[in-house]
Amino acid sequence: MKGKVLLPLDSSEASIKAFIPAKSIAKLLDMTLCILHISDEELTTEELLDKLKIKIEDLEYFVISQRAGSPEEVILEESKSCDYIVMGTHGKTCDTTLRMGSTTAKVIEQTFKPVLLIKPDVCLHIENGLWSPQKTLIPLNGTPGSSEALAPVMMFIAKTSSKIDILHICISPTEQTLEQSKFSAPYYEDYLQHEWASWSKEFIKRFCSVNKNHIKASISLFHGDPAEEILSFAKKNNNDFIAVVWHGTMAHLRAKTLKRILIECDCPLMLIRLG
């Protein structure tokens, strides 16, 4: 069965920003694009496409549906049969003083599907009408769980010409997990001329499960505040796509790194929630 990419829209300009990235993922991964319009008004397909400013000739395998009701509930229900969700961070209200709109916030906290978030002011690298990231930034904490969670990102990246920058920010003691096979920077670095080459090779093999030869992954290592390091790295290296694994709660004092990245980064951001 063909996989599905869910694109929930509310006909706002902010939400329609997600169309090209959604179409690109569907095309590259040979999936069906499921455009979901959530609104109380009833429109024909033509009227709807017209309203969403989508040309039918731009679509390959697609399904368009319209549903009324609570947007987050509809999206969550529809997403059950999908592989990816691609949506704008903001919708009709488009209050960009907030990190994201309330619907998006609820969706990302409740779904276990990978969510590609597109901000209203996003910069997209377009090639042949498709979004094609050039330099993907993946922060990895050196645990098998988070690297496994990244499989959907890797699947997509493997279909693009994007290079991967893996950024490992050394785990501070308070964040240590008991997960087996995890590792951080080596505790010992006997002779750094050899240690780092060897460490990087093993880190990439263990946590960047890309078995495609054409993918060029390089690793960088930093120590400090994760959000600060991720943002400054992305800026310095012109990363145009960031994928982040997170724990699925935006509660007070949680997801501090993600909250800051959401505010400050201007490229598409894929969130993958740890199971």
Binding site: S184, Y191, L192, Q193, S198, W199, S220, H223
Partner: protein, 779 residues
């Protein structure tokens, strides 16, 4: 391998006696570490213990000592990865048995310490429900350096079906960027003939297998298909037969690896290796290896009572030490990660002399001598290194390969993109005095005059000359060495590093002692050597003068040695504030900031205090231990073992035990991920040192051997044997009692505690006991 069906989990230490160190199940992410931990070797060949059938997670391969290569664009010489001779694929019907999409009912790998082999036990259920029992035993022979064995036992449990086995030499594991396949097509053997690009070295691997069927209780002959196929990516033997449930089928394989150093015709030499066996070549080779292993393990073993887990940690270390050393030496030495992985590129560091050599000096002096002969054989390279840097004598390479030329890279890019200049090759000069120390330690323990006068003396004289050219006379009238790096590499290019100066002073001392000893007892050999290296008459006197007047940074009031000039002025950092810590301090603080603090990477002052323990009072040891232990970030895996020995020396056995565990678990703990690149062989030597020099309190001095045991609470006794001046000492040490027994033909002096000497005769048991904290001998 995420869909691997596992009903098992990783568990390192199993309680079954015959499986002292085992890994149950398969954990794909750690696979490359497991390959290292259970790697095999004999000092000539080393092989990673990969799963025999292919997986993307595996990183199989072998390393042949001395098989160095350097391409036109490489900064340095390195050990090239050779093919994997352990490859086996088993098919039930047409299905390749594997752990990826089939059900591993049971899977385990372990080191068999009784036989010196690596064993894999695997009960597999494939998609058709066929259950197959598989056992694979592998070894690299300790009896003959060229022989490699693998035994496959297959038992179909519930099916009658064709089984095929493809067993051979997998060249995909080899580094084809640097190897040429010479296509050796032999009629009766699976065979590989390869040549290194750029360096033109050759090696040959032949393989020959025998098939046996054991039908329930008796062996019988059955028909089977057999062929040999050569491909670009390897050479393989195929066996195919109709298998019956409950029967055992055995494929016994002996491989033989020869290089052009063994003979000019390595193929012929390899074939002749099989011809020496009359009947079942595998069985005979396996038995010979097993016998040799038992002998070597017995003479190297340390037996504890009171802690089974620690016993396994020690056995693990001894396993790797034996397999690293057996055929090492002379033309090659033990690299930092042994022959078990690609990390450190097969380069030889000071690790070999300072961490491994003590084990060999005191358990198998012949190997210690061979390792020192490697340094003798690279003296010319060392002389060139000295000349290149504007010094005299011989400067041994910080990173050495086959010629002795310096192979340390000058630049490296760190993972954060920072380009760092590597200064060790140029400034970490203490390695020459370390090698001189090792020469003397060997002679001191063996009294092997033949080695000293014919080889050791030249090393000692040339390294003393090098030290002399490093030294400058200061306005204080003392001799100083400026601009060096000591073992603490967090502080680069420092003046008067205490370790460097102390070892240089010792180098002068032992060089002049050797000169006078030869002058007295071997004047003819001295004359020849003097002519060979143009040694002037007054040089030994100068060495004495330098030794007497070396600046050592010692303050008699505080009893502290200053690690280097200006160390006390640096910022003190309370390391406890960073605990629990999981990354090196120089990552936390940054390299530049770390250099401005008193945080040190590893034992430096404490290192030389350990080497010359008998020269220091307990108070001196304690003062320096308390000062420097508190400032050590242990950024090197070489650090914990020395701290363990020193903690024992100052009576802090709880600290010593903590450091012992920290060191012993460097490779087998699932913490750092860097065991994947090869075994930290120096740490295994460190395990032996922390037991022998630390907990057993063994200290060699001129008169004899001192034992001052400081057993941790967790242990009841330590039992081991030591070679000392051609005698074998069997020592059993309890907290308050020591038993000695020597075999040999001479009386020697042993001391219970510092110092309480007794002349010990062979074949009599002697007992010393502790009475009110003082050791006494029982009459």
């Amino acid at each position: 391998m995420d869909n691997l069906k596992l009903n098992i989990f990783l568990q390192y230490i199993e309680t079954l006696e015959h499986r002292p160190l085992a890994e149950k199940g398969v954990l794909p992410l750690r696979e490359r570490e497991i390959e290292t931990i259970f790697s095999m070797g004999n000092g000539f060949i080393g092989t990673r213990n990969s799963l025999e059938e292919p997986y993307p997670e595996s990183d199989p391969g072998s390393f042949i000592a001395g098989m160095y290569v350097q391409g036109p664009y490489d900064d340095f010489n390195f050990l090239v990865k050779a093919p994997d001779w352990t490859s086996i694929k088993i098919y039930a019907g047409d299905a390749l048995l594997n752990l990826k999409d089939q059900n591993a009912i049971y899977h385990s790998r372990y080191i068999d310490f009784k036989r010196g082999t690596i064993v894999r036990e695997w009960k597999n259920q494939d998609q058709e429900g066929r259950i197959t029992d598989i056992k694979i035993i592998k070894y690299i022979s300790l009896a003959y350096k060229n022989e490699l064995g693998k035994l496959l036992i297959i038992k179909p449990e519930n099916y009658s079906e064709k089984i095929s086995v493809i067993t051979g030499i997998n060249c995909n594991a080899a580094d084809f960027r640097y190897l040429l396949n010479m296509n050796c097509d032999l009629e009766n053997y699976a065979s590989i003939h390869m040549k290194t690009k750029y360096s033109g070295k050759e090696f040959v691997i032949l393989q020959k297998s025998l098939f046996f069927s054991h039908c329930k209780e008796y062996a019988r002959k059955i028909d089977y298909y057999y062929d040999i196929k050569n491909f670009y990516d390897g050479s393989f033997e195929t066996f195919e037969w109709k298998a019956e449930p409950g029967n055992n089928y055995l494929i016994k394989t002996l491989s033989c690896l020869c290089t052009d150093k063994d003979s000019r015709t390595p193929v012929k030499t390899a074939i002749s290796a099989y011809k020496k066996y009359e009947r079942d070549f595998f069985d005979e080779s396996y038995i010979k290896h097993g016998n040799k292993w038992r002998e070597r393990f017995k003479e190297s073993q340390i037996i504890l009572s009171g802690n089974e887990y620690d016993q396994k940690l020690i056995d693990f270390a001894v396993y790797h030490l034996i397999t690293a050393g057996e055929f090492s030496g002379n033309t090659h030495s033990v690299p930092a990660r042994n022959l078990s992985g690609e990390s450190y590129k097969g380069h030889v560091f000071w690790d070999t002399e300072m961490y491994l050599l003590p084990f060999f000096v005191f358990t198998k002096p012949e190997i210690a001598k061979a390792l020192l002969m490697y340094r003798y054989n690279t003296l010319d390279g060392a002389r060139k290194n000295a000349l290149k840097e504007g010094f005299k004598g011989a400067s041994f390479a910080w990173e050495s390969t086959d010629s002795g030329a310096e192979e340390a890279p000058e630049l490296v890019m760190l993972p954060n993109g920072e380009v760092v200049h590597i200064l060790s090759g140029k400034y970490e000069n203490h390695i020459s005095s370390d090698i001189a120390y090792a020469v003397w330690q060997y002679w001191h323990a063996t009294r092997d005059d033949n080695f000293l006068i014919n080889y050791g003396a030249e090393i000692l004289f040339e390294t003393a000359r090098f030290c002399k050219s490093l030294v400058k006379k200061g306005t204080d009238g003392l001799y100083h060495i400026n601009s060096v790096i000591g073992p603490d590499e967090y502080h680069e290019i420092v003046d008067d590093n205490a370790y460097t100066n102390y070892l240089a002073a010792n180098n002068f001392d032992i060089a002049s002692k050797t000169y006078y000893l030869m002058n007295l007892n071997y004047p003819d050999q001295l004359k020849i050597l003097k002519e060979k290296i143009n040694l002037r008459e007054n040089e030994p006197e100068e060495w004495n003068l330098y030794k007497e007047n070396m600046y050592l940074g010692y303050d008699p009031e505080t009893k502290l040695y200053e690690q280097f000039k200006g160390f006390y002025d640096l910022e003190y950092i309370d390391l406890k504030e960073y605990e629990p810590r999981f990354i090196p301090m120089d990552i936390i603080l940054g390299r530049a900031k770390t250099a401005q603090t008193q945080v040190i990477k590893q034992a430096d002052v404490l290192m030389f205090m350990m080497l010359f323990r008998e020269r220091f009072s307990k108070e001196q040891l304690s003062v320096n231990y308390d000062f420097y232990e508190n400032r050590c970030g242990h950024g090197s895996s070489l650090s914990p073992s020395i701290h363990s020995v020193m903690a024992s020396a100052v009576g802090k056995t709880a600290d010593a035990y903590r450091y012992f565990l920290k060191n012993a678990k460097i490779d087998i703990g699932d913490e750092f991920g860097n065991a994947a690149g090869g075994i930290h062989i120096a740490s295994t030597g460190g395990v032996w040192m922390s037991v022998a020099f630390g907990f057993a309190g063994m200290c060699p001095v001129e008169k004899g051997l001192v034992f001052d045991p400081q057993l941790p609470d967790e242990w009841n006794s330590i039992e081991f044997s030591i070679k000392w001046r051609e005698q074998t000492i069997y020592a059993t040490l309890f907290k308050n009692e020591i038993k000695f027994f020597i075999s040999g033909n001479k009386n020697i002096f042993l001391s219970a505690g510092f110092y309480n000497w007794r002349e010990i005769s062979p074949a009599v048991e002697y007992i010393a006991f502790k009475n009110n904290q003082k050791w006494e001998w029982k009459e």
